[in-house]
């Protein structure tokens, strides 16, 4: 990933981080909201930003990494352009979510949690998207797709590639 801006070094890349940090005192109680803001801004928790966070707040790296790895919301690696959130909640499970997962994994040639080679998709599972009456359900970006079957899920992915002309 092209992280750092080459022209004027540090500043631009860290701008968003500086802004986030300015809103907090940097106490322990702020750690989770700060990490959430970093992830919103950068899409994940980049290591260099976390290092900077420790330097600037005095929070210990073990504390920051401890929290970052404890909570499943936090990602230490960037995702693909499109994040697929496939529901693995109970209602979706009893309605066949596992078969949908297999179809998606096969179609995209990745495992759950993985990102496609072309960087187009990351496949993640989540617990209950809150529309259990549409089970099984997945979200791609902000769009929800309900009443999935393995076949329907494959077609949705193919539809994306067709749109991109690939």
């Amino acid at each position: 990933m092209a992280n750092k801006c080459c022209c004027n070094g540090r500043s631009r890349y860290f701008d968003k981080f500086d802004e986030i940090l300015s809103k907090y005192e940097g106490k322990e109680a702020d750690l989770i909201p700060i990490l959430q803001n970093i992830q919103d801004a950068y899409g994940y928790l980049p290591q260099d930003i976390l290092d900077e966070l420790c330097n600037r707040t005095g929070l210990h790296p073990s504390q920051v990494m401890g929290v970052a790895t404890f909570y499943s919301q936090f990602r230490l690696k960037p995702t693909g352009e499109n994040l697929i959130k496939l529901c693995f909640g109970t209602a979706c499970h009893v309605n066949g979510a596992e078969k949908v997962a297999e179809a998606l994994a096969d179609e995209l040639k990745i495992e759950i949690g993985g990102t496609t080679e072309d960087g187009r998709f990351t496949l993640e599972t989540v617990a209950c998207l809150g529309c259990c009456s549409l089970a099984p359900v997945m979200m791609i970006g902000d769009e929800t797709y309900g009443r999935l079957t393995p076949d329907k899920a494959r077609k949705i992915i193919r539809g994306f590639y067709k749109n991109w002309g690939e």
Partner: protein, 596 residues
């Protein structure tokens, strides 16, 4: 539903999470576009979950006389027709109506056994409008409490109502408040548990999305009762809409002076902050939740001391669930006796359930305690969605257990549900039909709890892993004699040696499925058969020669090319290649593919 009178028609679109997922925003925008172009004066509004999630997108049309009609499964196309016919020409589109003040519909049974206290404003008001909430009694209970009652009287009222915690364990709420009130210390906190960790449950989210003011008001009353001036709502980060509406509600309440200093001119002050969770099931456990608010890893700690004595930042803290707080304003406003009219002796009031899984009419339902399970599944829920035989219902999520079909006459209250081995839980109710394999369900929950164990206790961390391995072995057809007994033994040890509720209850789904479906375990282990025909290693897909027309549809969908055959000739599945994905069976229009 909404009895507010209007001068003209009012259109209300259900914009809860599930409505939005079903396309409600598009329907809303369609109405907006039509109204802008039309000369007919119409108001357009939004609301939260109306309960009938299975009929989303839901649109309510309120006539000028105040009478209402709800349309189900509305699309942008249908929206156009509804506007033309109902609003312009005054002729409602009868075939799309799912509920109406003046007409019987096939869906009436969904509501007739329900009783709405917690959901009194949910799906009725616009959750982003404090005026609509106030028009339906919001903040009247806190006014009554601070102006006319002492904190002790408030606690007494809650005690007398018989309200028990709706977060799972069912501890009497008034008692909890009494402890927190009597704890030493001038700084105390109120915390609302909105972590809703049970995967497949959405009661708390629907309440927060549909009527955030009821929760805020409940927390304020608790604050007044125990002597706290600050509250925290810990919400799952996965609930962005709930968080957004809570923020609006808090801001509006502050602007109106309901939250802040010297509320209603008294010396009671209260403020509320939101804390977003970060995706850890164990943070629903109260001590882990408090650690998480403090910015730490969410690990449970030993109790006592209980939060009521030493909670957030070591200060006395009262923690209750969303639904618990949402009940409180009703109790204070209408009195304990009115509330206690509903329910059974030891379980007063109502309970909200998220009815989902293989159920025909899934959604958000609120029923008086004491209702038989049968009435929830059949009268309200309309039976299974597949039309197949009802097999069991899972209550209480990963901490709960299943109730089998033969116990369908169980009464829904804390004690009767506990007797079955399941728990009331927070309100998740997942219906299963005969196609669901109970060992697979047990494995599903164990996968979840094993992943979510915080790792502090050896039995919870390693024990659940061992149990999961055994369950996986059984579903793969590699089960051995003695596995059932081994599962039972591990269960007992995990229950006994775990620090928090996660470990103590993790074996429940396994124990209840063994209790009621032992024969299914035995079939997997001894006969290497999955009676529900779910476990891949134990089934085979086959084509019936006399039914196959040779249409080739199946061979085209098979992702691994396991099906061969010429056009118009009988096809054949090569079982050694087949991955049991089921695509062929779903495709064959002649019912020629079976699972054995």
């Amino acid at each position: 539903m909404n009895n507010l009178r209007n001068d003209y028609y009012k259109i209300v679109v259900g914009l809860g999470s599930c409505g939005i997922a079903a396309g409600a925003n598009k329907v809303y925008d369609t109405f907006k576009g039509i109204i802008e172009k039309s000369d007919v004066p119409v108001t357009l509004d939004e609301t939260g979950c109306m309960g009938m999630c299975y009929k989303e997108v839901l649109v309510e049309v309120i006539n000028p006389d105040g009478k209402s009609v709800i349309y189900g499964e509305v699309t942008p196309e249908k929206a156009n027709k509804i506007f033309e016919s109902h609003i312009v020409e005054g002729r409602p589109v009868v075939e799309w109506i799912v509920k109406a003040d003046d007409m019987e519909t096939s869906e009436d049974s969904f509501f007739s056994k329900q009783m709405r206290i917690v959901l009194r404003r949910c799906g009725v008001i616009n959750p982003e409008s404090i005026d609509e909430a106030i028009a339906m009694d919001a903040y009247k209970a806190i006014e009554k409490a601070v102006k006319t009652m002492t904190p002790e009287q408030v606690i007494e009222e809650v005690l007398n109502s018989g309200l028990r915690g709706r977060g799972g364990a069912g501890f009497p709420t008034g008692m909890k408040w009494k402890f927190a009130r009597s704890s030493e210390g001038s700084t105390k906190y109120i915390v609302c548990n909105a972590d809703e960790g049970d995967p497949g449950a959405f009661m708390d989210r629907s309440v927060l999305e549909g009527d955030p003011h009821s929760v805020i008001e409940g927390m304020m009353i608790a604050g007044y009762a125990i002597g706290a001036e600050e509250g925290y709502i810990y919400v799952r980060a996965e609930y962005p809409l709930a968080i957004k509406r809570l923020k609006i509600a808090i801001k509006d309440a502050e602007e109106r002076g309901f939250l802040g200093k010297n509320i209603f001119g008294t010396d009671f002050s209260f403020k509320i902050k939101i804390k977003e969770g970060a995706g850890a099931f164990v943070c629903g456990e109260e001590t882990a939740l408090l650690a998480s608010i403090e910015g730490k890893r969410g690990m449970p700690r030993i109790r006592p001391p209980f939060p009521a004595v030493k909670g957030l930042w070591e200060k006395p803290t009262n923690i209750n669930n969303v639904e618990t707080y949402a009940n409180v304003p009703y109790i204070i406003l209408h009195g304990a006796a009115e509330y206690a009219k509903y329910g059974t002796e030891k379980s007063r009031g109502t309970k909200v359930f998220a009815l989902a899984g293989k159920i025909a009419k899934g959604g958000l339902v609120e029923v008086p305690m004491g209702i038989p399970l049968r009435e929830i599944i059949y009268d309200i829920g309309g039976g299974t969605s597949s039309g197949k035989k009802f097999k069991a219902v899972q209550m209480g999520g990963p901490s709960g257990g299943c109730i089998p079909a033969e116990l369908i006459d169980t009464i829904i209250d804390y004690d009767s549900v506990n007797q079955t081995g399941a728990i009331m839980g927070s309100g998740g109710m997942i219906v299963m039909d005969e196609d669901n394999c109970m060992i697979d369900i047990a494995r599903f929950f164990l996968t979840f709890t094993q992943k979510e164990s915080c790792g502090k206790c050896t039995f919870c961390r390693i024990g659940t892993k061992r149990m999961l391995e055994i369950l996986e072995r059984i579903t793969k057809g590699e089960g051995k004699e003695g596995d059932i007994e081994l599962l039972e033994e591990l269960s007992m040890n995990i229950k006994k040696n775990s620090l928090c509720g996660l470990g103590q209850t993790a074996p429940n789904p396994v124990l209840t499925t063994i209790k009621y479906f032992r024969h299914e375990y035995e079939a997997h282990i001894r006969d290497k058969k999955c009676p529900a025909k779910q476990c891949k290693a134990l089934i085979e897909y086959k084509i019936l020669e006399d039914k196959c027309t040779g249409c080739t549809a199946c061979s085209r969908v098979c992702p691994v090319k396991a099906i061969s055959g010429e056009v118009k000739k009988v096809h054949k599945i090569d079982s050694s290649i087949c991955t049991r994905c089921g695509a062929c069976k779903a495709t064959c229009r002649f019912g020629a593919i079976i699972v054995e």
